[in-house]
């Protein structure tokens, strides 16, 4: 006969076991391991760039020769102003990652709120929210961002700080966040519709729990797996969009992201002068980080929705 543990201890044990089981399953995927490893690397870069390569080099304090290919002094070569490319991309990590993660956070929050409300309340709330979501889904978000950003920048101005960000970066974050939430909303809504019919929701309602509480304490925890798996893909998309927008000139040269570096490389004629290190390095970083998130997202999806098992 096993002893019965007090309820809270039991719950904690179960939770710990569940987390352990999830981790072992998730990390069982080769792709997940690669992705997590790469991300840790880049997060370290983003967290302490000054520690790794010193302060961001500008055209003023650049020390190298112009457009030198990788050498012992400059591991990744230099750009047209003599700046060390390695220095630029390590600092660029912070900009690119922060933009991608913050804008994804906005998408997830807005998307989850809309999707949960639509799925939970149903009927006319669902109908109107979904119409709005479909509309946002259909708008060419990239071109919208492309068009809005300079307009907003003209009104706000290019200098100063908004919440710690340079204006152009702030606008990019906002724009990406507001144009990608529709994707999240759809997924959250369909999950909510499935979950809504389950018993625990019934029980909570019968006990008189308020709608908001039901959504936050009961539905939301069960939505987390789906949100996480898709969130990784949203981040990958955000990285791509930011890189593309910055490449077209909407970034900030004083806080360059990898995309801005690519724009600078293009303008300096890196392609036609064969400076492969200058345009290869930032792009490779984008590919690696993007791919990492995709691999993690796929592994999460696989862990939470396992395919059919062949053992009877």
């Amino acid at each position: 006969m096993t002893e019965t543990l007090p309820a809270t201890d039991n719950r904690r044990r179960i939770r710990v076991r569940a987390i352990k089981s999830f981790l072992s399953q998730f990390l069982g995927h080769g792709g997940a391991r690669l992705g997590v490893f790469a991300l840790i690397l880049f997060m370290a870069m983003a967290a302490m760039p000054n520690l790794l390569v010193g302060p961001l080099q500008t055209a003023m304090n650049a020390t190298g020769d112009f457009l030198v290919s990788p050498s012992q002094v400059n591991l990744l070569g230099t750009d047209e102003a003599g700046r060390d490319v390695l220095n630029l991309i390590v600092h660029g990590a912070r900009t690119s990652l922060v933009i991608a993660l913050v804008s994804t956070l906005i998408s997830l929050v807005v998307g989850t709120a809309v999707g949960m409300a639509a799925g939970y309340y149903g009927r006319w709330v669902d109908s109107w929210l979904m119409r709005m979501t479909d509309f946002f889904f259909v708008i060419p978000s990239f071109v919208l961002a492309l068009v809005i950003t300079p307009v907003v920048l003209e009104t706000i101005g290019r200098s100063g700080n908004i919440l710690g960000f340079r204006p152009s970066l702030f606008v990019i974050i906002l724009v990406i966040g507001l144009t990608s939430w529709a994707f999240v909303a759809r997924i959250v809504r369909s999950q909510t519709l499935t979950l809504r019919e389950r018993q625990f929701v019934e029980r909570a309602r019968v006990l008189g729990t308020s709608n908001l509480k039901v959504m936050l304490r009961h539905l939301l925890p069960n939505l987390v797996p789906q949100i996480a798996a898709n969130g990784a893909l949203v981040v990958a998309n955000a990285i791509y969009t930011e890189t593309a927008l910055s490449f077209l000139g909407l970034g900030d040269p004083l806080q360059p992201s990898w995309g801005t570096l690519l724009a600078l490389a293009q303008r300096a004629g890196a392609a036609s002068s064969g400076a492969w290190w200058y345009l290869g390095a930032p792009g490779l970083c984008v590919v690696i980080v993007s791919l990492s998130f995709v691999l993690i997202g796929n592994a999460l999806d696989d862990t939470f929705n396992p395919r059919r098992r062949a053992i009877p």
Binding site: P140, L146, A244
Partner: protein, 332 residues
């Protein structure tokens, strides 16, 4: 339930078309509002960059046709919508008062050539590879294909383009990395001109196609993987069908559903996706027109392009819905 055209699915077609029209209308309204919320006098703003190159008569005509002297809503909105429906997108500033509609039509073929060719190549290679990989899961070739496809899918096409230019144009000198044709190449013979154009097409098309192939392989493989584990495949095997028969008669058709939907939706983003690649290769299509208009604050052009893109996405979604209804009897 809405009225409207009754197609093979009954009310389904009517509802879908109706929704598409409403969405298109909403895109138009958004377009209108976007460029009217710019602070300051809209007309001055909209014509500011062109004051020197636009004649006063044109300005007056624009003010009138845009109804800028009347209240914003509903008068201006209505006149905007009606002029747009008539095909009048206004005048560009940068290009000396040229009509936006003309500009767009001029540049469209180049973009369509680039994006269209890329899509065709991607569809052929991507789907075949993906279906093959999904059918015979496991093994070195499958893992290699999947890994490469995921990497390609995560690669920005414009960066790929820059790399290709460095490699094949700058270093090897095999292919041109700039523009869609070399002036004077077509003077000799039609064939010479055609070959010149094809040589210019290769690198940009490859940049776009490779990323798409990655996406299609991943989706086709996933679709086929799902199908292979379905019960009706066991039934097919029990019936004594050969592998080829199982694939062709049962698996393929079912795996096709998500793939076709993806392709159709992608077609709506054809132009949007081309913007950055055209910037890299100085390709004279809508993409570079967008960038030029952006840099010149040429709002009428931007407005026209935004509408075009919105319309093509709405249209692509509509076609995707209809096709899905045709292909999957469960939805009808």
């Amino acid at each position: 339930m809405s009225g409207g055209v009754r197609g093979p699915g009954g009310h389904h077609v009517g509802q879908v078309v109706f929704r598409a029209v409403i969405t298109l209308l909403m895109v138009g309204v958004l377009n209108f509002l976007l460029f009217r919320v710019i602070p300051g006098d809209p007309a001055a703003m909209l014509l500011a960059g062109a004051r020197s190159s636009v004649t006063t008569e044109q300005m007056q005509a624009q003010r009138q046709s845009w109804g800028l002297d009347k209240p914003l809503v509903p008068d201006q909105l209505v006149s905007y919508l009606s002029t747009t429906l008539q095909g009048d997108f206004g005048y560009s500033f940068k290009f000396r008062g040229k009509r936006v509609g003309e500009l767009i039509i001029e540049r469209l073929p180049e973009t369509l050539a680039l994006a269209g060719l890329a899509q065709i190549i991607a569809i052929i290679f991507g789907i075949f590879l993906g279906i093959y990989a999904g059918w015979r899961r496991g093994g070195v070739i499958d893992n290699l294909t999947t890994g490469t496809s995921l990497a390609l899918y995560s690669t920005p096409p414009f960066w790929l383009g820059m790399l290709l230019v460095v490699g094949f144009s700058t270093m090897l000198g095999w292919l041109p990395g700039y523009g869609s044709y070399s002036p004077g190449a077509g003077d000799g013979s039609f064939l010479a001109g055609l070959i010149d154009r094809l040589r210019h097409l290769i690198l940009p098309v490859l940049s776009v196609a490779l990323g798409l192939i990655g996406q299609y392989v991943v989706v086709a493989r996933a679709a086929m993987s799902d199908v292979v584990t379905e019960d009706y495949m066991v039934t097919a095997r029990a019936k004594g069908l050969t592998n080829g028969q199982m694939l062709r008669r049962h698996a393929f058709r079912n795996a096709l559903l998500p793939v076709v939907t993806l392709i159709t939706l992608n077609l709506g983003y054809v132009v949007a996706g081309a913007i950055t690649v055209e910037a890299v290769f100085a390709w004279p299509g809508i993409g570079s027109l967008t960038v030029e208009a952006l840099n010149a604050r040429d709002y009428p052009v931007l407005q026209g392009i935004f509408l075009l893109l919105g319309a093509s996405i709405v249209f692509a979604n509509l076609i995707a819905d209809l096709i899905y209804g045709l292909l999957d009897p469960r939805v009808r």
